[in-house]
Symmetry: C2
Subunit: 409 residues, 2 copies
């Protein structure tokens, strides 16, 4: 179940970038579950990670290795991703396992272990099945290819409860030159700001200095992956990585930076939206705009209060224009001195709420017509200022409960 | 569907207190939907109301009338409660309707309108069906009685999606005297701190000064109704009222105040727990203790982060000892400088988490045995300080989605 189908795009080859995927048998699914992504020695790499205090072993090791690379003026050469097991809540054993995985891949490539960053997603709290994982590294390494098909196989190899491949590719023109950004992602539940069970891997052929790359990644994540929510739960394993191979055009002037930042945001928003479309049990894709807020923080607070409301989400699922639930959610958002008289709420082209209550011209028929759509826009104007936020979310369905009540069984 | 059955208690008669109930035909259910509660002229009355910025018309009018009574050194004589329609999001018309309802009951009793406090619960955003409501006032007024049966009928008359009557009665010994507290409540969804779609009406024969009554009510609400959550949504209509008729013993000394406060908390906790047991679609009753917190605020933040987590709630529904989801929810709670190594998590008598991961002695069989229970205790020790909080919640089931996707259809 997913809202709309976004076909997996053709991925242009990027010099020095190869992806290898295999079925290592880590999870139960019998599908591709181990992915190696190789970057050239000329790359810069930036990453943002979960803020969950219980962050998983691979997140800790990825951070350590990234820092070690930086201290030596290097970048990681490999990303190693497994699905089927999150290696989270696994204590000292988990850290050992993540490090050993890196060592095994590094040995294949003849590099020190810190040039490999590990990523895991899947069940929390069970030990990584190291025998299967280690046995998978050689075939995954051998399968490396730079072709579009390799990107598609890698996109398949990082999925858990996802039902669709998630990829995006953008070309950014820079005068007579151009750079390419290819991205893949996974995630469909436990999705909320500050990253969620979300893995995103983006590679560009641009040449971008590490500090600039880091800043541009954080900025784009704040407008994409940090603006989506399925169920308000943040995972222990989230990570979004961005590599700039340095094989193509350099990004240095203000114009170049602006164009590149736009292209990057476009890729991350496409991936973030794909995650919401494939949200667990999703039957609706909702774009929630909060405008007229006193600050962006306030706009985000209102947007997420509405987006997390189980009553709003079940009304969306039922295609019920129960605007009272939206109004009640707005009303309980953490906003000081809220003047409800100034708030308006629109469902696509239909005004629902005005002057503290149902809008005068509103009819149930008009509201129901919008709610019947698969893709719905909710626009909330607080009438307090000039700040805004856009957040994407899905509904709460029987299927969501089934998926999450049955995940381990 | 509800977790356990708590029989409706015998309610001792309280001098000067009478309750009248009728079927006015306000909602569709064809059941008792209009309740009048009469208090003697000697009463003090305290109330706490929703903090939702979009508070409903009856909440606004109840606050106004309570203030008007206080200015004149009086107390309200009547509480008028309808179900089937919340009179929320109804603008100026809603305020007119709430005031007119009060005038109609006040006219029956030969009093000014401000001696009546109105309460409404049900669908948001539709005009109160005034014809039916006004026609019901005379029969409800005529039906007044002080007998236990009248309490039970009133408890039935305030329900919406509730499946069980909610009542509690406590006798508080004060040396050779004693006072009685009788309470009824409604609520089963849209339940979270700061009151939720919760109505509670408690009457005692004690004599308590208004300012003291207000303070004791707030204190008890903070340990009961503000410590429960079904689905994190706060309603526009919540109210909890406490009347002390003054016909019985006076509460004045420190010992008397302490004993009365304990009795009041006992009644409110019993009503709050009854709401959770009857939570929409609830199949589990969960007592969540957070201890070792640096402050009560922090303990509450962690408790509610866990209690609101859809992934924790669906795991509870599935009787799946998926402790990783509890750990992930604790990890994303808004707590600064969290040392995950010091956190322990217990499920009843079974230690789940210790030292940042699964507890050494933990077995899936032991966890599953606890999760199979209908009533489960989760205890989270943060190892940071001496503050604690206890919160009650329920699970997230298919039935919850059905109830809230079908509520208006």
């Amino acid at each position: 179940m997913a809202v709309g189908h976004v076909p997996f795009p053709a991925m242009p080859a990027l010099d020095g970038v190869r992806l290898g995927t295999t079925r290592a048998g880590i999870g139960k699914a019998g599908r591709r579950d181990l992915v190696v992504i190789e970057l050239p020695d000329t790359a810069s790499v930036a990453g943002v990670f979960t803020r969950n205090a219980f962050c998983a072993a691979p997140v800790q090791v990825a951070r350590e290795h990234l820092a070690a690379c930086r201290r030596q003026g290097q970048a990681p050469r490999y990303w190693l991703i497994n699905t089927g097991n999150a290696n989270a809540g696994t204590g000292a054993q988990g850290l050992d396992d993540a490090r050993e995985s890196c060592r095994a891949l590094a040995a294949e490539a003849g590099l020190p272990a810190h040039r490999v960053l590990p990523f895991s997603t899947g069940v929390i709290g069970e030990a990584l099945p190291m025998e299967a994982l280690l046995a998978g590294i050689t075939p995954a390494f051998a399968a490396r290819s730079g072709q579009s098909e390799a990107w598609e196989q890698a996109a398949a190899g990082i999925l858990t409860t996802d039902t669709q491949l998630k990829g995006a590719s953008v070309e950014v023109p820079l005068g007579d030159r151009r750079v390419t950004l290819n991205g893949i992602a996974k995630g469909s539940g436990m999705i909320r700001p500050d990253m969620a069970t979300m893995l995103g891997f983006v590679v560009t052929d641009a040449a971008v200095a590490p500090a600039l790359l880091e800043r541009l990644l954080r900025q784009a994540v704040d407008r994409s992956f940090n603006c989506i929510t399925v169920d308000s739960d943040t995972s222990t394993n989230d990570a979004c990585l961005l590599a700039a191979t340095g094989q193509g055009a350099e990004i240095a002037t203000d114009d170049e930076i602006r164009a590149f930042a736009d292209g990057l945001e476009q890729v991350l928003v496409a991936l973030a939206q794909a995650i919401i479309r494939d949200g667990e049990g999703a039957t609706k894709f909702v774009t929630l705009d909060v405008v007229g807020a006193a600050s962006r923080r306030e706009a985000l607070d209102v947007a997420f209060t509405v987006a997390h409301s189980p009553l709003v989400k079940t009304a969306l699922y039922a295609s019920d224009a129960n605007w009272g639930r939206i109004l009640a959610a707005v009303g309980r958002a953490p906003v000081a001195d809220f003047d409800v008289e100034r708030v308006t709420i629109d469902l696509d082209e239909v005004r629902l709420v005005e002057g503290g209550g149902r809008a005068p011209g509103y009819t149930e028929a008009a509201g129901s017509a919008v709610m019947a759509r698969e893709e719905i826009g909710i626009r909330i104007d607080l009438g307090r200022g000039d700040s805004d936020a856009r957040v994407w979310t899905s509904d709460l369905s029987h299927e969501y409960v089934s998926i999450n009540a049955d995940y381990r069984s």
